[in-house]
Symmetry: D2
Amino acid sequence: MASSFGNHLKITIFGQSHSQAIGVTVEGLPVGEHVDTEVLQAFLARRAPGGNLATSRKEPDVPEILCGLHNGVTCGTPLTAIIRNTNTRSADYAAMADFPRPGHADYPAEVKFGGWQDKAGGGHFSGRLTAPLCIAGGIAAQILARRGVEIGAHIAEIGGVRDDRFDAVSIAPDTFSALVEKAFPTLSDSAGKEMQARILAAKTEGNSVGGVIECAAVGLPAGLGDPMFDGMENRIAGLVFGIPAVKGLEFGSGFDAARMSGAEHNDPYISTPEGIRTVSNHHGGILGGITSGMPLIFRAAIKPTPSIAMEQDTVSLSRLEAAKLRVVGRHDPCIVPRAVPCMEAALAVAILDAWCEADI
Amino acid sequence: MASSFGNHLKITIFGQSHSQAIGVTVEGLPVGEHVDTEVLQAFLARRAPGGNLATSRKEPDVPEILCGLHNGVTCGTPLTAIIRNTNTRSADYAAMADFPRPGHADYPAEVKFGGWQDKAGGGHFSGRLTAPLCIAGGIAAQILARRGVEIGAHIAEIGGVRDDRFDAVSIAPDTFSALVEKAFPTLSDSAGKEMQARILAAKTEGNSVGGVIECAAVGLPAGLGDPMFDGMENRIAGLVFGIPAVKGLEFGSGFDAARMSGAEHNDPYISTPEGIRTVSNHHGGILGGITSGMPLIFRAAIKPTPSIAMEQDTVSLSRLEAAKLRVVGRHDPCIVPRAVPCMEAALAVAILDAWCEADI
Amino acid sequence: MASSFGNHLKITIFGQSHSQAIGVTVEGLPVGEHVDTEVLQAFLARRAPGGNLATSRKEPDVPEILCGLHNGVTCGTPLTAIIRNTNTRSADYAAMADFPRPGHADYPAEVKFGGWQDKAGGGHFSGRLTAPLCIAGGIAAQILARRGVEIGAHIAEIGGVRDDRFDAVSIAPDTFSALVEKAFPTLSDSAGKEMQARILAAKTEGNSVGGVIECAAVGLPAGLGDPMFDGMENRIAGLVFGIPAVKGLEFGSGFDAARMSGAEHNDPYISTPEGIRTVSNHHGGILGGITSGMPLIFRAAIKPTPSIAMEQDTVSLSRLEAAKLRVVGRHDPCIVPRAVPCMEAALAVAILDAWCEADI
Amino acid sequence: MASSFGNHLKITIFGQSHSQAIGVTVEGLPVGEHVDTEVLQAFLARRAPGGNLATSRKEPDVPEILCGLHNGVTCGTPLTAIIRNTNTRSADYAAMADFPRPGHADYPAEVKFGGWQDKAGGGHFSGRLTAPLCIAGGIAAQILARRGVEIGAHIAEIGGVRDDRFDAVSIAPDTFSALVEKAFPTLSDSAGKEMQARILAAKTEGNSVGGVIECAAVGLPAGLGDPMFDGMENRIAGLVFGIPAVKGLEFGSGFDAARMSGAEHNDPYISTPEGIRTVSNHHGGILGGITSGMPLIFRAAIKPTPSIAMEQDTVSLSRLEAAKLRVVGRHDPCIVPRAVPCMEAALAVAILDAWCEADI
């Protein structure tokens, strides 16, 4: 099922960019959990477009919870929330139907769905479908917070400009809350300014840039996740690669670990008043697919927005001949900032799913 | 289910490093497919230990197919194959039970399984469990080859030494077969020699090194895979992160894509006699989770073998105090070479699963 | 996942009797299939309350399809349809919260959900949740009809009065269409009249009656379904037992088969111009979990509506002492007639799921 | 996946009647549970052939546990057990390949698997595959017994002769143990004698008879199971219909409930020192798919053994013309007695799966 994920906590995302509505059904939520809709709304607002760095589309993204709650509390039934689609301009896309956009799913989808798919706005492939993921993740995050787990993320890199990294061993308590306050969530404000400059430069020339997001969870107990195919890495990857434009994912030291020796990479154990910990955290809080109790850290690589105003080479699917394409419509020169809460949402869903299975 | 993977083609891996046997059950194989046991044996031999670069353990790894075939041909029932465990020296591990090995799953597993897990040889977390994966993948690869799909992989990096990369646009037909012939599969023999020197150096000092493997599939039709959570990236990640020591995964340009502009990264389409192709292949053969018909390419980062002879700091789980640990037993100073066929196996299983679902 | 069903065609039902809305998401529908909303509406109307035999509640049951279609045709994305809940009188239930209704899920749900569940109207246990099942089944039936498969059902028994049975070997082509035309779908009109009399008698005394529904599918190819746990019986049972009040299910001769000898029960094969058939059809069109090409026939036993006006004995959950209960609210004295399309819907979903997996 | 079942506790059955071996993998077993192999062996012995009422085949059915245990205790990894196939006489079946046996899966399987299936001994459809189910169920039953849940079953009917029924409200503690002691498990010995006479009579004339098995579980807590598609009925049905020859299944009053009024069928609640109970138990211990704490009771209808010595009419698949068939080989004139432990096994697996999910 392409649009479902999870074992105990199961999410099913539905909708096309220009259908009547998009939404998500979440099965297996713990019962008796209050869902704070204002907090959820604030979480969703972080991925909504806006500002001069983003598209000029208006997406209120106000979810309507159709069921799953009783007096605002989870009652043991599936929770379904929808967001109505408005302000869509399908006409922008009709003209391009015969010319697959480079970097988009247009061509593979054309082959797979035999021309039946809904191309408007990217259909089911639209970044808009991350809004339902954020609804599920935003609710999961509220439930995890009551269990002492906090999740946060920052823009680690854009257009080659790098931000500082999280302190893998001991992330300061207020780090996440400080990031949420920022319009452009980086640890280093100077790095953030430079990144924004790169984005505006790309926008000016009708181009786009990609980047990297670093996401972490603290307060996790040891013992979450399973060996082999249900390890925390597998679960997180299963969700993160479902976010459009993600082309890479690494945990802890990730690809750098490939350049280290065992003596450098192995994290020695120490016994502390808070319990057993590791001195360093190259493992990113996961060993054998199971949480170690140290901060869980991953980074996701996001490719540059494929929708650019510059003219591109493509083909006519009907005439099988070369063609020029200029993607009209309103697009983000960089979707990295809006993808930040999506990563947090993916991590929250993955953790709560493993948590419910582990019966902690 | 920690040990199961797949939608239509489903594999379930069982066994501990020192149990009576390890094995795999594969459900959903296409019927009427001959399984060449000699070719399968040769495939498994590539991950078997041996040579001065690897452990001195003897693992014949001769699978016994218990069912699923009729006269050597798949007959529509689950195929189960097992490998008997022999030459195990559990005593090596008994002494370490109270001292979690840095970089291993010992501690998280202790917490998760409350001390009931089988620690000998790493139990269910052992790299030995990749043998059953190779059985499933080796069979899947035989079936895919009949459909024109070839899979191959090479060591892209070890200890900081880098090999050349696959030609992402047009991998030469004999590239894969040439790699299989090599005892140390790199595209550049000189790079290979240098990597082997790094491994021996690490072995000499009781240390270990990690690396990167690049894996690819050619001959794929466009249209395999699904949007969102069943995309080819999600499927491949679900299997690859089940291979011990993998800490990172990237597709196409991967993390480099985060440093490119849309104009650089977008792969223009062209119409060729063989069909629609892209001029470049930064997307790694996958767009929107669906194959584009271009070579599918991914790279996996493998951490250095955590089992090293050098003395390490750990704690006594019973006395909760600092302790020194020296990991005895026979271990690979670098498991990257043996992980090469595992990556091919993971890719073969992921592709055949998507293929069966797509009814091509 | 309590609310999900299916392998390739997957349905997820959501909603409570008195939540904002109820609905269903259907994943895996074949692409390029037109969904006739008028035909769907007519199908849903068959389970809607009305008439002097049913509750006086008004349930327009007009589904709104939120996504999954493009210009009215399935486009490869999940299809989600919802029905708004209106005309609910939760107050009827508030008073009964402390007194579990005999024959209802009140008490087990209270234990399971720790008092958090939404009791109004039966919450997630309400027969109202069969409306989304009928949406999914109604759509599946339209798709199957284009493949030559017709599905129908009739009231086989109510309050001890029995209708004739389908001709298991060759159901007349117009049998199903004739049943759909009837306000009270029985093969024998006289039996139907008697059943209705029993229902009205029960209603008059504030009591209720149960019954049996016989459901069949014709035009099925041989070869659908799988051995063991994905057999057609397993799939159908998985859905039918999800319909409230079903307490029994039998295929072909069912329980009567237990009283027959092998010589009587075995259905001899014959070769006909239409292909291989069986002379009799005690097997109900399924052998080894796989369709034989003969009509697929099952019967489901439905218990009498537990909500009756007569006073009943129960307990006070808070005071743990005996109590008297009189169930107020508007209830069907017999839900069998409204369950007829639900059985057809369950069968349609089970068949299309197996069909999609079999790649016929 | 035709051969897999379960959510948290997952079983995968593999093997053909005449393959090297048959077996089962059980994932998700609680850790720290001792598996008593002697008790397991005794449980399996109950389904093994023997006696003058059964086939003369010799099936030692001695399972070898390959993995999943550490020092005889579940250790958190999948448990796989196999039984070697011996004493098979495939030649008996080769001759019949072209002539589908009435009442068997031969023809549907031929169509589904295009002639590739392993016909010997019924292949994957053989009753022999219930041995692995009994291994999984026997282990589950041991774990449930430690939680106060006892499971038992008896032959309720054979060839039209009926046994007494379990006391649905309070099954005497020693009822199950007494049944296990009997070579022919009926509550009434006189009924048992008559049934055996019917079986021998059928055997004498080369015919066969079917019957009904009643199975129950006591000591269950209220609250197990889920609404809709994961209700206890759905779970049990999903397993029971995987047992060859089962054509019907009913819970509590089952089909009789269809003839009762609501006032008769509703089970009034009472408060007892042991907790809330119902005065009667027409609901069979399940309401809304969830256990009520009362004995869980179901009955399964088993068709007469299709393999009979009498000559039968069939067709030649190759020549598409009428043919006569006489099924040679050794067959049970009635498989009901041997199916008794299979029903207990199915119930044990279904309950433990729900139990693990409910985190009781």
